[in-house]
């Protein structure tokens, strides 16, 4: 009997791992708890660094979903048992699935901005997250973002829920900075007379074309960058927001009125990732993301033979890196199953 693999999680990582394994002739079961594939990719409008339509990437991933892959949508896992080199998955609906290899691709969630109550998410009007902004761009291309808002000053807050001991996350979520700069440009495109401010601690424009995007944001679009972390947002009598921060480059405290505040929320490991890790006894780092067998040479396997990792279960990562990582996982799984 030929060996099979089960992939848990139908986001970008899960889909790409599945399609690559199917290409290599390996039978794959792909389990997804929601009713559609794609995970967080379904929320994004345009992807950095070139602001291309995320639907093009979704389509590419969909192409790989061929007959060699058994899709199990709306499926949740109750238990996983290991016997020798075989895995038995007990599903919520009572069925069971068996395989010789397991790929954990259950990804991440975004930080719950209500935990940073001083920023007023869920309390004041006109405080939204970067995810909500992306969804707005994706679904409402023709609508006015500033409908119902008086004048046009937008503030973008970096590091919400990341690099923050109080939020319980010391790590950097890596991709929020470039998201903030990208969204600043996109808002300015939509509303050319808006004044847009990015409130940052550091600007982590680490990948190819990111720094150039920052340059473009300043030179072409006039986005203003103020280095200082928001201490709090309050509400003015007219329901606009008043933000307080230190303008560290001048060394003075600063307050300004903002009409729309966008919080760049970071990555946290998804509860599903943590649940499966506990079930299987997988090692977690201090940041609660999962650990691979070796940080440099073996980033797709785990200490448990037959259990592999793909995508953001290991930490914050962008779409491009996730797809590459998934291919790497597929290769490791194929070698293991031979």
């Amino acid at each position: 009997m030929s060996k099979t693999a089960i992939i848990i999680g139908g986001g970008a990582a899960g889909m790409e791992t599945a399609s690559q394994l199917a290409r290599l002739g390996i039978e794959v079961d792909l389990i997804e708890k929601q009713s559609r594939l794609g995970g967080h990719l379904n929320s994004w409008d345009r992807l950095f660094p070139n602001r291309r339509d995320s639907k093009e990437v979704s389509e590419y991933l969909e192409l790989g979903m061929n007959d060699g892959i058994s899709l199990h949508m709306n499926t949740e896992i109750d238990d996983i048992r290991m016997a020798g080199e075989r895995f038995t998955l007990a599903l919520r609906d009572g069925n069971e699935l068996y395989s010789d290899a397991l790929v954990i691709a259950t990804g991440y969630e975004v930080f719950d901005a209500r935990k940073k109550e001083e920023y007023g998410y869920g309390i004041y009007d006109n405080v939204i997250t970067s995810v909500e902004l992306e969804e707005f761009f994706r679904n409402n291309k023709q609508k006015n973002l500033f409908e119902g808002i008086q004048s046009k000053r937008v503030g973008i807050v970096h590091c919400v829920g990341s690099r923050d001991e109080k939020a319980g996350n010391l790590y950097c979520s890596k991709l929020c900075c470039v998201t903030g700069v990208k969204q600043a440009i996109e808002i300015k495109e939509l509303m050319p007379d808006a004044e847009i401010f990015c409130f940052y601690m550091d600007l982590r424009m680490f990948d190819r074309h990111f720094e150039e995007m920052y340059y473009e944001a300043q030179e072409k679009w006039g986005i203003q960058f103020i280095r200082g972390r928001l201490s709090e947002a309050s509400e003015n009598p007219d329901h606009t927001l008043l933000v307080k921060l230190e303008d560290t480059l001048t060394g003075l405290p600063l307050k300004m009125k903002i009409d729309l505040l966008i919080l760049l929320v970071g990555f946290v490991p998804s509860p599903e990732t943590q649940r499966l890790a506990a079930m299987l006894g997988l090692k977690e780092g201090d940041d609660r993301f999962l650990c691979a067998a070796d940080e440099h040479t073996s980033t797709n396997s785990t200490a448990i033979p037959g259990v592999f990792l793909a995508g953001t279960v290991k930490g914050p990562a962008g779409i491009a890196n996730t797809i590459t990582d998934a291919r790497s996982t597929a290769l490791q799984v194929a070698a293991y199953l031979k």
Binding site: E117, E118, G120, I123, S234, E235, N236, P237, K255
Partner: protein, 360 residues
């Protein structure tokens, strides 16, 4: 604003407030600034709520003022606190309640220190025994007097004769609430609602019919501190802190300010006078300023006590505009008369902050 969002925050910080049998310790200076407040608190607890509340005349200061000014070392402060607890133990009480918010902060701090460093508690017992021959038990519950009023706010409302509603417009009064820093900024878990959204005064205002104002400098300190205030030349910093609050709350048009600390109402009340004399600027309507009340005074007004029995005549900012809004009757002629009706003289009229009745 979605108020439920704010209310979610205060739910995280709940604490136990004792129900009866209180040992009461007074504030060092509060009776100078707000002479009626502590008396009103005792009156409300005894007459309205039929509670057992006891104070020992030989109780002293907790030395909070001295401690926070670096004059009294912490070991001495701990010993003085221990003596207060000894008096409480000797009188057979377990529930400790303080009039002053700095006291509350100090008692909380001392109890926390003893909890985390038991050797300091041992040492303190030794010091107290040697100095006074007394021994003590730690209280079961330490609550601030405003916590107790908060706990019985619904009873006070039900017995009350007046609501915090503007009788001319029918709208709830717009109230600014101000918490003493030592209440919950030091130990958020010791304050109802924590440090971010302290609920103790909000609960009172809402249950008594008023509306709470949320303004940007809400959490800002009034500037009392102790160190900076004691020396005259340093008071510029203190007055600037209060002024920043006033400038921030002004556009929201508050009808009054409610506080729960001895120092804060003193500052927020008196600084309005000082600012008016130094810069000519007044807040509130018609140059009358924004009245500042302590929670006991407000509870007394809600229950229908005579404003002059509450000590409101001593306030720098005239309280009469507020009394007229609520519809509380008062006799302007009796404002500056003594208990037997004798004329006590009248204060000098300020340059800019107007008296309500010029000829009284």
């Amino acid at each position: 604003m979605k108020v439920e969002g704010k209310q979610r925050i205060w739910m995280d910080y709940q604490k136990e407030i004792a129900e009866d049998h209180f040992f009461y310790v007074r504030s060092c200076v509060r009776q100078n600034f707000f002479p009626g407040s502590e008396k009103t608190f005792l009156r409300i607890l005894k007459s309205e709520l039929q509670k057992d509340i006891y104070e020992n005349p030989s109780h002293t200061t907790c030395s909070g003022i001295g401690y926070h000014t670096d004059i009294v070392p912490f070991e001495t402060a701990m010993t003085m606190v221990a003596r207060q607890f000894a008096l409480m133990t000797e009188a057979g009480y377990e529930n400790f309640t303080t009039s002053c918010i700095t006291s509350f902060g100090l008692y909380s701090e001392v109890l926390e220190t003893w909890h985390h460093f038991p050797e300091t508690e041992e040492k303190t017992r030794e010091f107290l025994l040697r100095a006074t021959g007394r021994e003590f038990k730690k209280p079961n519950n330490v609550s601030h007097a405003s916590d107790i009023i908060f706990r019985f706010r619904k009873e006070i409302r039900d017995k009350g004769k007046y609501k915090l509603v503007n009788q001319h417009t029918g709208q709830p009064l717009r109230v600014v609430e101000h918490i003493g820093c030592h209440y919950s900024k030091m130990f958020p878990s010791k304050g109802i609602g924590g440090a971010e959204y302290p609920y103790v005064l909000i609960g009172m205002i809402e249950d008594w019919g008023g509306e709470v104002i949320d303004y940007p400098e809400r959490r800002h300190c009034c500037g009392f501190g102790f160190r900076q205030y004691l020396i005259q030349a340093n008071r510029g910093f203190s007055i600037s802190c209060s002024k920043k609050k006033f400038d921030s709350m002004e556009p929201y048009k508050p009808d009054m300010i409610l506080t729960n600390c001895p120092g804060c109402p003193m500052f927020l009340d008196r600084w309005q006078y000082a600012i008016s004399e130094m810069e000519g600027k007044t807040y509130g309507e018609n140059g009358h300023g924004i009245p500042v009340l302590t929670y006991e005074e407000l509870a007394g007004l809600v229950l229908g006590y005579n404003p002059w029995d509450l000590g409101l005549q001593v306030h720098q900012v005239p309280v009469e505009p507020l009394l007229d809004k609520i519809g509380i009757p008062y006799d302007p002629e009796m404002k500056f008369k003594g208990a037997d009706g004798q004329d006590l003289g009248k204060p000098e009229s300020p340059s800019f902050l107007k008296f309500y009745f010029e000829n009284v």
